[in-house]
Symmetry: C2
Subunit: 137 residues, 2 copies
């Protein structure tokens, strides 16, 4: 549960001016975790009714460049964005579309993959799909 001041300082660390609109975007991502362009535009519009959708795009673009945020590509869905935090994987519920972070032990998998393929591996993007506990009740 970060506060606005924390988020502001974080923006400055990434050489991004902490404007109210931008703070709102970062705050939305902090609160909701993963959001696509439309969701972000809708939510930020509540607080800043005159914000241009171009501002949303411009922010996503520069925030990605500075790696303040990251893009997560999910099969059959629009890309979502999240604050850049520690490496992790994702699970998506095919019923309610909820996206959840999960910390997986990937060393073994990477070692094995590296051995099979002779690639020198560094990153992994893992998206698992299933039904969340709420939806399976």
């Amino acid at each position: 549960m970060k506060n606005i001041l924390e988020i502001k300082n974080n923006l400055l660390k990434y050489n991004l001016k902490a404007t109210p609109q931008r703070l709102c975007i970062a705050n939305c991502l902090d609160i909701h975790g993963h959001m696509n362009v439309d969701e972000l535009y809708f939510l930020v519009s509540q607080e800043f009714p005159t914000i241009s959708v171009a501002t949303i795009y411009k922010n996503i673009k520069i925030m990605l460049e500075r790696v303040f945020i990251k893009e997560v590509k999910i099969p059959k869905q629009k890309s979502v964005y999240e604050l850049n935090k520690a490496q992790h994987s994702h699970i998506v519920c095919s019923k309610c579309n909820k996206i959840v972070d999960i910390q997986l032990q990937t060393e073994e998998l990477l070692r094995s993959a590296s051995q099979i393929s002779n690639f020198t591996l560094n990153e992994s993007a893992i998206v698992l799909n299933g039904v969340c506990p709420e939806c399976s009740k």
Copy 2:
């Protein structure tokens, strides 16, 4: 190494008319493995110079619906498409952008993920990133 007749019969199995253009698309995917829209349009245009890009899109759309092909989403790249084959994962070389299929043992990972998250898991989309043996020489 499939031949055209095999591909044709496969199209029919998916209730897709085996037109020359469509056969060419399927054949390209069979030969090249993973292709994005532009690559597909470029290559098919060689053989059918008058083909419309809309035809490429229409085919991708319906082939996805029928699950004759699948979309693979790679971080920081355009989506690529591939023939629907046995479940597998992908490795991408960050130097030459080559995409390679890899058969990974995911049972252990899925079991662990399921245990941590309480999700009932079924599918997994795994994209690993690194440097291929050719590029690391």
